[in-house]
Subunit: 246 residues, 4 copies
């Protein structure tokens, strides 16, 4: 591991090219806004990658130099090649951190590491969301108060079809009457995974100071503690085996 | 759900056809020994299915009439068609129980519901195994004492690359010096999953009375509590949304 | 275990004697309303016990004939004798079910089995609560839809200082802007514990049909799977010890 | 939090005063050997405290300057005053780390934070123990290989009556045939708790290089991430409450 945490910010980057409303909010793409926020935090070395680059910008060499991968996708989950998903999955199990944002709940990589449908309720009504911080001692909530609010969001509601999180750190209240497990931590293989609900293509969610704080904290939390290739060894016994005589 | 729990015992059924040593232990296939044990227990309606049947014996109609699927595979994991794995996976998330036995740790379906490598250490030295029952109150350990022993087994050792089990119920001690999390419970979607370590093609493990008890108990534990198709609904708000005016 | 599940409904029963507003809602005490709901469900044999009876109505003989104990207390947690709490605690670890309701979050017995403060936010503003069912397959949510509402409640808000539940089954949305983990399951020793948020002395919560369904389901879920006294045995080795010669 | 992690090593310190065999192994007390190992690691500021000091060496001022408390007791658990246990408990829930060693499984403080009996099997036969590292990526196992061995130990066997650990990091194999969950992590309130099995008054366990590594790592892992006093606030609503009119 390098001294700086090497983060690769991945973005589908399709909405921003085709939709004027999205372009207005994210003229250079959502990834550039996220990158800027991470750069400003210090201690992170940030690159970006997008769907339409060769190998979606994630060849083996890039993943090997990535400590934490953040993922945003929405309309083109199906265009992500299975071999790239396979490569990312292997890397997560080896120890790389993975942070899935908002509509990435339905990305191939998130569904693969979870093993579940990852479905949920949704509604676009520009309503208010309040995220309650239920683990004030967790590294990802450092600097966040008891709650923070986002004035206009797309709603995501329960039941969110995920494995029970190792640690649930945010629960959202929505103006329209729903709740959601909005910040969820898991460990899989040697890697850490964080799902964070906020983020949308037309609401300026990634400019929000609290969302940015959480993203920075999550990159620090998810950095590899070990990198270890998978194996299925066939060792000699450590003790004498007497039963086998029988 | 029918009154009886409808169990489908799936077996790769390749070893038994080609290998005389295996044939001697399981002349009609391992699945027939498991079926017989489940039939004898009462309350279970048991069918079998094997790899070389059309659709591996698991067409849609069979899965729809299956409450609990038990799985044993070893040399031919790669021959199981992805579309059948996909179908089983969906059914588990809808509520069907899944019981994976021994070398099924490396089956496509187990790895898919776990989201991890499911790798482990292994050794064939005919050593002794002692399975400690660490949850005597769990339905799967009913009738099992503090521990039970198997005189000659293939060893599986840690680290077993699985998500932390919701409940760990057996830990194995091996004569050669290893330990293993041998009975592990998870819930995924609406379905229950049990991994049980014992089982091998040349040792007569599935004739063991304690192993049979655990299998029967596990089928009862894993039966569906609900069957519910996945969805991703777009509901109207339950409360008036005033923020959106802004 | 008897054929019927033997439930003891415990109530502090102080508010009802002193406060006219409470008496109007629960003229015979909250426990009698809960008892009536459980009686109506069938399969449960229900008795009651209250604080001001000798030994709080919970002598050894009663606990030994109790499969599931439900607990409601509020103003007199401190009057519950430590020796009775100790006796209940031991019985839960042996396998008895425990269901703690609403303000019982601060009862001695709940804090003792949790090992945490069990503190929370609260507000009496007669606001609306909507409980989201996030585990539709769980036995405790059988017959409950996606959510149910209570028109006027005392609010409880996060952070609720509890150990991470083994299974979180209800999350509440409150009109005033908070959220709460309202249905939480744990296992401790051989016993099962359920915390359920609804319940209040002046709002007629325990008359609500959904609350009553959850209580009935919870009694069925929490019934003992085993009853086993604690021990700390000193067994002989099961294998020869050769190292000790050194 | 200070720059250095402030560790208080607590020892019952009774065996060492009365028993010649123990005195030979730990002439200055077990706590001095542990202190020395922690001092040598760097980054830790270590003090000690023992049972027979006033307030067991743990007055309020000491706890307030303690980031991590390690605990060893055996014959005199009952002599630890309840008010001191209460004080420690409160401090753990506020964020202080707690590391319980070997026979501290039966200490008042460990049983109180767990809420269970914490009973187990035990045997003094000087047998061999092999601790398997099942979480090589965990901070507490840094520098520890796949396993490490202790040549002569007191055996602890399952069932260990504890709440399911948040993370299980060591499983022990014993020569006499048992297994044990030997390294267990939990979070309670804002504090982190680690139980570590090795340690005995007549075997020189705390001189072992791997045991010392684990202790150092555990102190680093358990240090407070936040210190926060408990409260049960009564906040104003964040949203207008319209239902209450009814």
């Amino acid at each position: 591991m390098a001294d700086k945490i090497r983060v690769t910010v991945w973005n589908e980057f399709r909405h921003e090219k085709k939709n004027a409303a999205v372009q207005k909010v994210y003229p250079d793409g959502m990834h550039m806004v996220i990158k800027k926020a991470l750069d400003a935090a210090g201690g992170l070395e940030v690159r970006t990658a997008t769907l339409d680059e060769p190998e979606h910008g994630l060849p083996k060499e890039v993943l090997e130099k990535t400590d934490v991968l953040t993922w945003w996708g929405h309309v083109a989950h199906g265009d992500v090649k299975d071999e790239v998903v396979e490569r990312i999955h292997r890397r997560v199990l080896e120890g790389m951190g993975l942070i899935c944002l908002h509509s990435a709940h339905y990305s191939k990589i998130f569904r693969r590491v979870m093993g579940t449908n990852c479905s949920l309720k949704w509604r676009e009504a520009a309503e208010k969301e309040r995220l309650w911080n239920i683990e004030p001692g967790h590294p990802i909530t450092q600097g966040i108060g008891e709650y923070f609010e986002l004035p206009h969001v797309e709603m995501y509601g329960e039941r969110f079809d995920i494995p029970t999180p190792d640690k649930l750190i945010f629960i959202s209240w929505f103006e329209g009457g729903e709740v959601f497990r909005s910040g969820c931590c898991w460990e899989r293989g040697h890697g850490r995974i964080f799902y964070f609900r906020p983020g949308h293509e037309t609401f300026p969610i990634f400019y929000d100071v609290n969302v940015q704080k959480v993203l920075v904290n999550a990159c620090r939390w998810a950095k590899p503690r070990i990198i270890k290739a998978d194996s299925c060894p066939n060792p000699k016994p450590l003790e004498p085996i007497r039963s086998a005589k029988a």
